[in-house]
Assembly symmetry: C2
Homo-oligomer: 340 residues x 2
C-alpha cells in the first residue's frame, strides 16, 4: 500500500495529489494515508503537504530503496523480495540467515554501508556509502563443486551491465573480480613520471560466493557483490587504493545507482536462466570473451600452492587451467591471480 | 565450580560431604555451594541433604549431561565444549549457528530428543529419547569436494565403537549409514515363516554432514550423528521400522549411553588426527575393511541418475566407483544405495 501511495505521487510529477484522492484510489482511510506518508518521509522521501492541495513528492533520496528498485524491474526472480539496510555488518551474513530459514531464491539484501564487509578467505572488504553492496540468494540444483559457476554467472552479469550502461572496458579476472581497463596510466620512465598511453587494469567489483551444502547437494548459494559505483577512491583504506577504481572515477561523474542495480539484476537473471535452460557451455563462451586472465602469463596462489604459467582455459566447473611447462598443466578451483 | 562440586560428591560414593568441607575445598561460600546443589538437582541429579552430615549423591540421571561426558574423556578436541538440550529442533542446525558465530572446532551439541531431526536431502529423522543425537563441529583444511571424507571419518569412529564395546558386526554402508549384521533372520519359505540362519543388515546409525564453504575453502563442517542406542524400535514411525535396529534390540539390554558417547568421541578424534597427520589413505584402508557396500551388486540413486552395477572401489574423495558394464565405470559422490 505504501508502495502504491508512493507511485501515485511519483506519477503526478511535481503536482499535488489530495488525501481524498489517495484515499479513494487505494480504498484506505485518510489517516492510513497520512501514516504511510510519514513512513516514506522517514525513509528519506521529501514529500510536502499543502492545505487543500494535498501531497507532492519533491525528491527521492539517493538510496537503494526497495520501491525504487522494484519500479519497472524486468527481473522476475531476482529482487522479488528486497531487504534494505542503511547500515549492516555484512549483507552476505544476513542473506545466509535468510537462506537457512528457507526463503525463496531470488531474495536480495542491499546495504548502503557495511561495517564488516567480507572478502574472500575472511579478508576485509571496504564498503563506504555510494557503492552497491548486495547479496543474492539462489538455490540452483548443482553439486558443491559447481558453486564457482554461480560466481561466473554473477561476474558476467556485472561486467555486461558496466559495458552496456557506461561503455567502459570491463573484464573478468578469474575467479571473482571485475576490472576496468583504462587507456591512460602514469608510468615512471627514465626516473621521471610521465603520462603515456598505457593500459592499466583496476578493480571495480569483487564477488564472494558462499554456500550451504550437504555432500552432493547445494542447499543455497549466497552471491555477495560489491561494486564501487559513486565512490571517491580516497575513501578506501590506503592498501586498497592503488589497484582500485570506481565507476565515478572512470566516468568523471556520479551515476544513477538504482538504474545500475536494476540492470545488473536483470543481466544476472538472464544468464542464470540461460544456465538453467542450456547448461554451462553458453555461459562459459560469453565469459571467455571478456576474460582478463585467459592467454596471460600469471602467478596464482591457491592455498599453499604457487603456480606460474599461462592461463589457457577454464573447465566446465569453472576451474582455471594453467600451462606450467610445455607438457604440464595444472588446475585450480580458486585463488589469488596476478598478471606477470 | 558446579562440576567440581559434583565430582567431590561423586568421589565420596554413598557417603556424605558437609557443606563446610565443600566450602573449604572449593574456596566459595556455603550459600554458593547450596546454589550449585540446587542447580544440579534441577538438572536431574538426585542429591539428599542431612543436617550435620551434609550432601550425598544418590543417583545420576539417565541423560547425556556434559559433566558426565567430560569426566575421564580422553578426547582433547572433541567435546572441549558441550551443549546439551533435553529437547531441540535439530542439533545440526544449532551447531551450524555456533560454527557461523566462530566457535572453535570440536564443540558438540547433544540433545535427548529432536523435534525436527534431519536426514539427508531434507528427509525426516526420528529421534526419540534413548538414542544419541549429536552434532560435531570441525574446521578441517579441506576443499568443498572433500567434505565426504569427514562423513567417512565419523562413520569409521561409530562403527569401531560399536564393535569394540559390544562385539556386534557393524558395517558401513556407503556413504553415511552404519548397519548391524544379525545372524538370525526370519524368512518366508514354502509359504510358511521359518527361523533360519540368514544374514540381515539393519540400520543403527545415520550421519548427515553439512558444510559452510566458499569456492575453495570449507569454513566449517557439522557432522550430525544419530545412533539408535536404548531404543525400542516400535517407537519409530512405521515406515522406518522394517530396516532399523538399535543397540538395545541387538543386545537385549540397555547400555550406558554416556560411555558410548565418550568412546565414540575418542574413536572419531583418533581417526580425525590420523587424517590430519597422514592424510586420507590410512582412513580409506580401515574403512574398506568394514564396508557393507564394496564388492556387492547395488542399485544407486544419485540425483536423477539411477545406476546398477558392482560397487568396486572408493576414490580418494570418498566417491563410490561402480562397474556398470565390463568396460564401463561410473562414479557418484553421494546417493541412496540398496543392495540388489
Amino acid at each position: 500500500m505504501r508502495e502504491k501511495t508512493l507511485n501515485i505521487l511519483r506519477d503526478r510529477k511535481e503536482g499535488y495529489v489530495s488525501g481524498e484522492e489517495l484515499s479513494k484510489e487505494l480504498g484506505i482511510s485518510r489517516t492510513a494515508i497520512w501514516k504511510h506518508i510519514q513512513t516514506l518521509k522517514e525513509e528519506g522521501y521529501k514529500i510536502v503537504s499543502q492545505k487543500r492541495l494535498g501531497y507532492s513528492l519533491v525528491s527521492v533520496p539517493d538510496l537503494l530503496l526497495p520501491y525504487e528498485i522494484k519500479k519497472g524491474l524486468k527481473a522476475k526472480i531476482l529482487g522479488k523480495k528486497i531487504y534494505h539496510f542503511k547500515e549492516i555488518g555484512s549483507t552476505n551474513n544476513f542473506a545466509i540467515e535468510l537462506a537457512r530459514k528457507g526463503i525463496e531464491e531470488g531474495a536480495i539484501v542491499i546495504a548502503e554501508t557495511q561495517t564488516k564487509g567480507k572478502g574472500r578467505l575472511g579478508r576485509e572488504w571496504s564498503s563506504p556509502f555510494g557503492g552497491l553492496w548486495i547479496a543474492i540468494i539462489l538455490k540452483p540444483k548443482i553439486l558443491p563443486t559447481q558453486a564457482p559457476r554461480m560466481t561466473i554467472i554473477a561476474a558476467l552479469g556485472v561486467a555486461k551491465t558496466i559495458r552496456k550502461l557506461y561503455h567502459l572496458d570491463a573484464f573478468i579476472k578469474w575467479p571473482n573480480d571485475i576490472l576496468i581497463r583504462s587507456q591512460l596510466g602514469t608510468i615512471r620512465a627514465n626516473g621521471r613520471m610521465r603520462k603515456k598511453e598505457y593500459r592499466v587494469f583496476k578493480k571495480v567489483c569483487g564477488i564472494l560466493t558462499e554456500m550451504g551444502a550437504e555432500q552432493d547437494t547445494v542447499n543455497y548459494v549466497v552471491i555477495g557483490i560489491g561494486v564501487n559505483l559513486n565512490i571517491d577512491i580516497k575513501k578506501f583504506p590506503m592498501e586498497f587504493r592503488k589497484d582500485a577504481t570506481s565507476i565515478e572515477k572512470e566516468l568523471g561523474c556520479k551515476i544513477d545507482r538504482v538504474e545500475f542495480t536494476k540492470r545488473m539484476l536483470e543481466e544476472i537473471e538472464d544468464f542464470y536462466l540461460l544456465f538453467k535452460k542450456r547448461g554451462f557451455t553458453p555461459i562459459l563462451k560469453e565469459w571467455k570473451k571478456i576474460s582478463a586472465t585467459l592467454g596471460k602469463r600469471i602467478k596464482a596462489v591457491s592455498g599453499r600452492r604457487i603456480i606460474e604459467g599461462k592461463a589457457i582455459d577454464i573447465d566446465s566447473d569453472g576451474a582455471l587451467i594453467i600451462q606450467t611447462k610445455k607438457t604440464k598443466q595444472e588446475k585450480i578451483l580458486a585463488g589469488d591471480v596476478t598478471l606477470v
